[in-house]
Amino acid sequence: MPEKKQSLGESLKALEGIVAWFEDQQQVDVEEGLAKVKEGAVLIKASREKLKEAENEFEVVRKELEGEE
């Protein structure tokens, strides 16, 4: 499959990581928290872009030349 810079799956995984980080922290460092939120926002934007409702491209791939019967 053609690899993208970051696939949707990877973005979502990274996002889950950030969310988990927030859930784990007893005391969140504001600077670090802000950095994580910024990172998360970028991931959300990218993922949303990929997940947005868009028509599928549909094509019928026909054989150029039918073989002999």
Binding site: G9, E23, N56, V61, K63
Partner: protein, 518 residues
């Protein structure tokens, strides 16, 4: 001619695909070649080509003539050089009373027959009565169990292998093929393209046998199943262009913004095995383009699903470079192809939902994560702000503490200061009192002294020596000025200074006498 033939073949392939039939049903190869050679320009000329009759001419005439007219300039010279028989033995048939020259040769007659026969493809049921397997061809004969009628059949090895049916004498089979006369022997044979096992019982038996064989090889093993891509971007889809399956799939997959390439293939019955197999091979040839292959069709009887229980197809699916979802038939008729796929679902709709679901979940979890992230950060900020407030509170508290202590100290101090002040005042008043006392004392003392002085004055006056002197006493002093009180303090010859009340005399001691001496 080659150009025209290629164009005609492409046209036939499209036509066949659109009509969902096999290409030879549109026009036979012989007919296409005939057209390419004859290069007809009118419907009448087209009708002169072998294998093209009224019906075909009405259906395809216009399109064929157009293809030919486009190709004419390039190939006209060639066409002119090719001798082409004007006689068409069929469909009109030879004139029984015609002259000798009208008679056709055996070969041409058989060619004519074969052309006609090529349009008579059939599906025939019978019992295998003899089998002769050669390298490239398998010869066998089919017998009608009711009246013993016999028919010669042959099938090419590759088709035999794809069919996946090993025939032996006594097997009841269904074959599909086209009758043809083998000219060297003048013998009619059915050129079989496909062999099926006939009857539910036989099908089940064949199914079970193939299942056991492939199972033993590990073709269905859980371990070789690959996980489906979570978010496929390019899907190859194999199913029929007609029928409900394609609609169900495309409707239910939703708008995911992905690419779906349909490799159309008939999926009905055993004959579908060739098309499905071919479609999978075409997909595999472009394997790098796809991250998922989906093969779907509606449910059906074990007979209609036969293609998917064919060994060659099952193996091809197992060999696929990309994960395969099979939505072929319902739970009750699981096909071996479905078992070999990485994911087996019951219907085209289920296949579509399987693909769609991770996208839906991702959409939901994205919203969820976004909320959590915002909440978490909000909480962080408010915690931070609480912390700041707390710190400020602590600081203020501290300040307050300081101020309270200060206040306390101040008031303590002021109390003490008051006390000191009081004491000072007290002291001062005591001092004042003392001073007063002292001054009063002094005053008293002064009065006293005066009185005493007065008294002393009068006393003094009393004791005034002059007064005593006046009484006749004198003061006797020695030469050194000391008062003489005892006679012993002087000696004869000393000069004595005697003071009297009035005046002084100097005397000399002459003799000492006792007190009582006269």
């Amino acid at each position: 001619m080659a150009d025209t033939l290629s164009l005609l073949r492409m046209w036939r392939a499209k036509k066949a695909a659109r009509e969902g039939v096999e290409p030879f049903r549109v026009l036979t190869n012989a007919a296409l070649e005939g057209i390419a050679v004859r290069m007809p320009r009118t419907p009448d000329e087209l009708m002169e080509v072998k294998g093209i009759k009224d019906a075909k001419c009405r259906l395809y005439g216009k399109e064929i003539l157009e293809i030919v007219s486009r190709a004419v300039p390039a190939s006209q010279a060639v066409v002119a050089d090719v001798p082409f028989p004007d006689e068409v033995p069929f469909p009109d048939g030879p004139e029984s009373s015609g002259p000798e020259e009208d008679a056709v040769s055996v070969s041409r007659f058989l060619d004519g027959l074969n052309t006609e026969l090529s349009g008579m493809a059939a599906r025939i049921r019978g019992e295998v009565s003899s089998v002769d397997e050669r390298d490239r061809v398998v010869y066998f004969s089919l017998k009608d169990p009711e009246d013993g009628s016999m028919m010669n059949c042959l099938i090419f090895r590759f088709q035999y292998d794809v069919s996946g049916v090993r025939i032996k004498e006594g097997d009841e089979v269904i074959v599909e093929g086209v009758p043809e006369i083998w000219k060297p022997m003048g013998r009619l044979s059915l050129k079989v393209g496909l062999i099926e096992v006939a009857g539910e019982g036989a099908l089940k038996k064949a199914y079970d046998a193939l299942y056991r064989k492939l199972e033993a090889e590990g073709v269905f093993a859980e371990a070789r199943k690959r996980p489906l891509p979570q978010f496929p971007e390019r899907i190859a889809l194999i199913t029929s262009e007609q029928g409900a399956a394609i609609g169900d799939f495309l409707t239910n997959i939703g708008s995911l913004g992905i690419r779906i390439d349909l490799y159309p293939s008939s999926v009905e019955g055993k004959r579908a095995v060739f098309e499905v197999l071919d479609a999978i091979r075409r997909v595999r040839a472009r394997a790098d383009r796809y991250d998922l292959l989906v093969v779907v069709r509606g449910g059906g009887s074990i007979e209609s699903l036969q293609a998917f229980n064919t060994e060659s197809l099952v193996r091809e699916i197992a060999l696929c470079e990309m994960p395969v979802i099979a939505g072929i038939g319902h739970e009750k008729d699981i096909t071996l192809s479905a078992l070999a796929a990485d994911r087996m679902v019951s219907t085209p709709t289920a296949a579509a939902r399987t693909i769609r679901e991770p996208f839906e979940r991702a959409r939901q979890s994205l919203a969820h994560h976004e909320r959590i992230l915002l909440d978490s950060f909000g909480a962080t900020l408010s915690a931070a702000s609480d912390h700041v407030e707390e710190s400020v509170g602590t600081f203020l508290g501290f300040l307050e503490g300081v101020s309270i202590r200060f206040e306390r100290a101040r008031s303590a101090l002021s109390v003490r200061a008051g006390l000191v002040e009081f004491r000072i005042r007290e002291s001062r008043s005591r001092v004042d009192a003392m001073l007063r006392e002292i001054s009063n004392g002094w005053k008293d003392a002064g009065r006293d002294v005066r009185e005493r002085l007065v008294r002393a004055e009068s006393a003094l006056r009393q004791y005034d020596p002059n007064r005593v002197l006046a009484l006749g006493y004198g003061l006797v002093r020695l030469a050194n000025g000391a008062l003489l009180r005892k006679s012993t303090d002087t000696k004869v010859g000393d000069r004595l200074d005697i003071r009297l009340s009035e005046g002084r005399i100097v005397a000399e001691v002459r003799e000492f006498k006792a007190e009582n001496e006269k």
